[in-house]
Amino acid sequence: MLLVQNLSVNYRGFTALNDVNCAFGAGELVGIFGPNGAGKSTMVKAMLGLIRSATGATRLKGRPLTQQLAQVAYVPQRSQIDWDYPVTVWNVAMMGRTLQTGLFRRPSRQSRELVKAALQRVGMYEYRDRSISDLSGGQQQRVFLARALAKEAELLILDEPFTGVDQKTESIMFDIFSELKAQAKILLVISHDLSETLDHYDQLLLLNKHVVAKGPRHEVMTEQNLLAAYEGPVRLIAA
């Protein structure tokens, strides 16, 4: 169980997030939605302690999340990464094992097996010796998912993972999310995609500096809630 209590963030004089309370259960795929500037990324960054929160706490299995970051795999927004960095696909995926490997040690045989399996699962093992800069956006995103898989984390947080990815990658990602749910992992996915993919999520969290609504799709994606969150009419594609 992941519990967010009274989470508020102030950012240079204005309120970026106001008193967010929510709970996520094991085996849940949660979609976090809201307009630009709604505080979606701010919320997960505050949960992880990457930015300072004014009030509130986040607990995983009863203990502060910031004390258990080894249990977290985080995939940042694409724009946060320098895709020209000189590193191969294999070494990006191996970054998921850095903490477990420990200081002054080489990755164990088990770590290498996990990385291999993760890359195979996302269909990128054949590309392991390629430079990350040589891949398409979808392939790069799959490598980042492999890195998250290799970490064997309890909580996976993905910030806009579908931005700039192809249909094949999106399909692979949702298949993997289903497998992770079956392993009782918690998945938080920030997204802008208000299309039929909404059906993949067990819960939706609609955010606009505070929690507008949380629950299954039919409860959350009502006209009234969308108006409140997006402050204007929103069209759900193929809803």
């Binding site: 992880l48 977290v72 985080y74 960095y85 000189p86 590193v87 970054m95 850095t98 200081l103």
Partner: protein
């Protein structure tokens, strides 16, 4: 052969060559982190900021290298503090911190008792021909410490420099890695003060790494190739300096720049003459021979 051996008959040339090779390796390894983290201008700031520590070290009776190291690290901490707590962008803060630390240094040189014996011109430009055994030992020690640290923390620094947010979110102590890298940059500047001075050290830090960046696909390869190119530039630069009677530091930097240009134009994977349609365009524009 005599052309190559003749300069080595002088002790100052042997010392200078050894210093050049050590610095070529050290600067390329540290500079590789600066390049991939897009903090090259921060390296320039640190190199200038060390000047603020020199008069304080003289005043307190400490080795100059200690004062320089403390001032270099302090400037990076001040930079990080201002940048994270304000809306200001990094480049503006770098310019301010660089100028301020430089001003502090030049002011303290005239104000603090005894500090006026610091030769500011020498600190700015260095003199690789004036390198002595103790300078060599200091540079050798710093090179050894930095290389061992990079080897020990390679995978952590790779993760941190590639994805700072992801590594922090995953529970890695990123503040320590930041401090580690700026300390390594400051140590490198300290090691380079005597030889190339604070004005040219930035070229030693970035040029070999940039050249290697255009030729390889992994960070460790960038460091190894960059180290070789840095050492090569130092040796060739020293010979040019000896025979053409030009300033040594400048000669080394110009050779390093020449190597960069070669890679920029002819790199098999990224050279603008080998990869883009540049050559093809020129060939297409040539008049066709009628059959």
């Amino acid at each position: 052969m005599n052309i190559l051996l003749e300069p080595l008959g002088f002790e100052f040339m042997r010392n200078a060559m050894t210093m050049g090779i050590l610095l070529g390796i050290l600067c390329a390894v540290v500079g590789s982190y600066m390049i991939v983290q897009q903090m090259s201008m921060m390296g320039d700031m640190i190199s200038h900021s060390v000047l603020a520590g020199l008069p304080v070290a003289v005043f307190m009776g400490l080795p100059l290298s200690v004062g320089a190291l403390v001032a270099g690290v302090l400037s990076a901490v001040v930079l990080s503090g201002i940048e994270s707590q304000s809306r200001l962008k990094l480049d503006a803060v770098i310019a301010l911190v660089l100028a301020s630390f430089l001003a502090i240094g030049t002011t303290l040189v005239t104000v603090l008792p005894g500090a006026n014996r610091i030769d500011v011109i020498h600190v700015l430009f260095g003199n690789i021909l004036g390198v002595n055994q103790s300078d060599l030992m200091l540079t050798f020690g710093i090179t050894l410490i930095v290389l061992i640290s990079v080897w020990l923390f390679y995978k952590e620094l790779l993760f941190y420099t590639f994805d700072p947010i992801g590594s922090q979110a995953g529970g890695m102590p990123v503040r320590w890695y930041y401090l580690g890298i700026v300390t390594a940059i400051s140590l490198t500047v300290v090691a380079s003060l005597q030889a190339v001075g604070v004005l040219l050290v930035i070229a030693m830090l970035v040029a070999p790494g940039m050249t290697a960046y255009l030729l390889v696909k992994e960070l460790h390869q960038m460091m190894i190739l960059g180290g070789c190119l840095g050492a090569f530039a130092s040796i060739v630069g020293m010979y040019l300096s000896y025979y053409l009677d030009i300033p040594s530091g400048s000669a080394i930097v110009l050779v390093a720049f020449g190597l960069f240009l070669l890679a920029f134009f002819f790199s098999p994977s990224q050279g603008i003459l080998t990869q883009s349609g540049f050559v093809k365009d020129i060939l297409l524009k040539l008049p066709k021979r009628s059959s």
